[in-house]
């Protein structure tokens, strides 16, 4: 009798599984009573089984440290799943589709007519100063008007249970393979839970991804040649690159496997000679994509790739330049962007965001810096952030200086009280903060993963969920309660 819900403290936060007075939410009733019935020994056994499965399946991520170089770490995984009722999920799904649709229209507009700038909805200098805006992409019209084919949006929930979009990752979002593998691990470890619940499957993501990539092929052939372009085994997401290539039956390539000839066509080097490539799912950043156009010393990219893409001879997912819309300053405008292009009210909320570029908002941020989360416009992975309430005085002062020096590069948000879920710490369940990253695929149509990757901050009170900084993960169950 190791997990006693009576001792579980939710604090001031919204808990994903437990509501007030330590009663489980409707969708979590069976899970909680199942967990309550487990002995210490059972829990230990399940935990060992899960970590063995992760070890044996080789589910890893790579961390780069100064001292040790690159090391492969086992994926951190918590065996207590996070549960979302299908009815609620369907609403979130609609909101995500709306959001990504508008974002793609926004990117396409920026690189072509620039209607939204003309209408004065988004100020022009935000665009000009964005590191992720690529003038090389002006005038390019990718198929279906889609630039961000794969989007990973981070969702969080506040203390009232409201779901917010925290950020959109439109460049090379990662994590989907862990979502798939988490489910495999859970099925190995808790097969009996899958009989009790009507848990919607997540397995079809690789097929959906494959179909979407096929739609980008410039050639009308039955089986276009699709490749996944990786920076190589030392990249933190290499596991995922290999995994997705394997699941799709696509070639996993590095830059040196590809070449672009004078005919502006991309070829890969095979044991039979050169062979044409139709679509590249690239997992390297824009700046390294093509040494002819961007960083000329990039060893990761393919010289001539931009030429081939602009000539319409190869599909690139995501399109170069798509990152202009996951700038954290642009984020603040997303509700307006949705209204402008779709003439609809946003279904999913943005976290209130102060743009330091506006003097009033900047002054407010500086005055309330100890309550704010300050983010640089173009960083990812939780780097370069200030979490005001947890920071030292010196750190806060440093950020005030940074903001004053380069206001365009910073936005600030009030500190949200992120939701929690029971997480196994020792043999007890304790509340830990988490977020959710669903993945949205856009081609001819838009589809959303069933749930997504739940990331959890394993340290008490922490809200940093990045695996490179001590975060863990959970399987995410979308359960159909009406089918019960």
């Amino acid at each position: 009798m190791a997990i006693r819900w009576g001792n579980y403290a939710t604090g001031p936060f919204y808990d994903e599984l437990i509501k007030g007075r330590n009663k489980p939410r409707e969708a979590a009733v069976d899970l909680c009573s199942y967990l309550r019935g487990l002995s210490d020994k059972d829990i230990e056994e399940y935990r060992v089984a899960a970590s063995t499965a992760i070890h044996v399946m080789g589910i890893t991520f790579t961390v780069y440290t100064e001292e040790e170089g690159s090391i492969d770490r086992a994926w951190p995984f918590d065996i207590i799943p996070r549960i979302i009722d299908k009815k609620e999920w369907q609403q979130i799904e609609l909101g995500l589709k709306q959001r990504v649709k508008a974002l793609n229209m926004f990117i396409d507009d920026l690189y072509n007519e620039q209607r939204i700038l003309g209408a004065g909805i988004v100020p022009e200098d935000i665009l000009i100063n964005s590191k992720n805006f690529l003038p090389e992409c002006l005038g390019v019209k990718p198929k279906h008007g889609v630039w961000a084919h794969i989007c990973g949006s981070d969702l969080v929930r506040d203390q009232h249970g409201t779901v917010y979009v925290l950020e959109d990752n439109l460049r090379v979002p990662s994590g989907v393979s862990y979502m798939l593998e988490n489910r495999h691990v859970m099925k190995r470890v808790f097969p009996d839970m899958f009989e009790k619940y009507n848990i919607l499957p997540v397995d079809d993501y690789p097929s959906e991804l494959y179909d979407m990539l096929c739609q980008l092929s410039p050639r009308e052939v039955a089986q276009p040649e699709i490749v996944v372009l990786t920076p190589g085994i030392y990249n933190s997401a290499y596991f995922e690159h290999a995994y997705l290539a394997q699941q799709m039956g696509a070639e996993l390539v590095v830059g040196s496997d590809l070449e672009v000839d004078d005919d502006d066509i991309v070829y890969m080097r095979t044991v039979e000679g050169l062979s044409r490539v139709d679509v590249i799912y690239r997992r390297i950043d824009d700046a390294f994509l093509d040494p002819e156009v961007f960083h000329e010393d990039s060893m990761l990219g393919v010289p001539g790739l931009m030429r081939a893409w602009k000539a319409g001879n190869v599909g690139l997912a995501n399109a170069p330049g798509a990152g202009v819309a996951d700038d954290k300053v642009v984020y603040a405008f997303v509700p307006d962007i949705i209204r402008f292009y779709l003439n609809e009210e946003p279904l999913l909320q943005n976290v209130p965001t102060y743009k330091c570029i506006n003097k009033d908002e900047r002054d407010y941020v500086i005055e309330h810096i100890d309550e704010m989360v300050v983010k640089p416009a173009n960083e990812s992975g939780g780097y370069g952030m200030l979490i005001g309430p947890h920071a030292t005085k010196a750190e806060r002062e440093k950020f005030v200086r940074l903001i004053r020096r380069d206001p365009r590069n910073y936005v600030a948000q009030p500190m949200l009280l992120l939701s929690t879920a029971p997480t196994l710490i020792g043999n007890k369940a304790e509340a830990r903060h988490l977020d959710l990253r669903p993945f949205i695929l856009s081609g001819e149509d838009i589809s959303v993963t069933t749930g997504g990757l739940t990331r959890v901050a394993m340290r008490k009170g922490s809200t940093v969920v990045n695996s490179s900084q001590g975060g863990g993960s959970k399987d995410t169950w979308i359960v159909d309660m009406e089918g019960e």
């Binding site: 070890h55 044996v56 399946m57 044991v271």
Partner: protein, 306 residues
Amino acid sequence: MLSRVANHIYWMARYLERAENTARLIQVNTHLLLDLPRSVPLGWEPIVDILSIRENFYANYESADEKSVIRFMVTDPNNPGSIINSLAAARENARIVREIIPSEAWEEINNIHLQAKADGQSVLTRRHRFNCLNKIIKANQTITGLVGGTMNRDDAYAFLRLGRHLERCDMTSRIIDVRSASLLPQMADEHPAFENIQWIGVLKSLSAYQMYRQEMRLRVNRTDVLEFLLKRHSFPRSICHSVHQIKKCLEELPQSDAVCDQFEQLSTIVEKLDIHTLTQESLHHVIDEIQAGLMDIHLAVNKAYF
């Protein structure tokens, strides 16, 4: 398939095969030591020669005693061919091509590497050695079974078998070479009964003893053992079998003309070989030729595909 990928698959197979054969080598030497009289000077030094690692070994150790040789061959990071390094290299290659090989095979490779890292030290005590090495041999047998049972018969599989048989052919030739030459000369006169034990040891190191009895039906003796290990197609670790397999792989691969030319030279050497007229010295010479032939094929493969 991608040239780079073919290269990784080829080396993955070579390193796995190398780890297995190195384990076999240590296994059988340990057993022999237990059978032979104390006066017989069978030691661990010949193993160092089998693997052509003398220079590197003496740069790291003073004498070729049991502990030093075994540590060098199994767990020493300074020996590029140590089992632990072979498994790490096999894993690193497998990791790069994990979308090509069956995922169960990747799991097994990952697993044996982790295991060898965790309990490789136990090989130093004779009591735990058998289990430790057997796990490595069994793991490669399992991997071979997994890829054989679940992998498409395509170029990737041909490169995998090509790597495996080039390495196996090489290791078998080394085992024969040292066992038949440097280990035995003076001993045969002094302890005739033990010469056969030596040959049984050679067979056992290749898991060939049982199959030898079935095929040759004779008492174990030098000529027949050499005939069996060099010339018989039927045994899957014989030189002749591996050579035949290399040929089959090349037939399956595209544009293999240049490699096939190299192959013919090796094939002729093996075919012309007449065991009955083979002296100790000429055997050693032929084996050198075989090893050089294998190296030439490797270089030709490298040039044609990678």
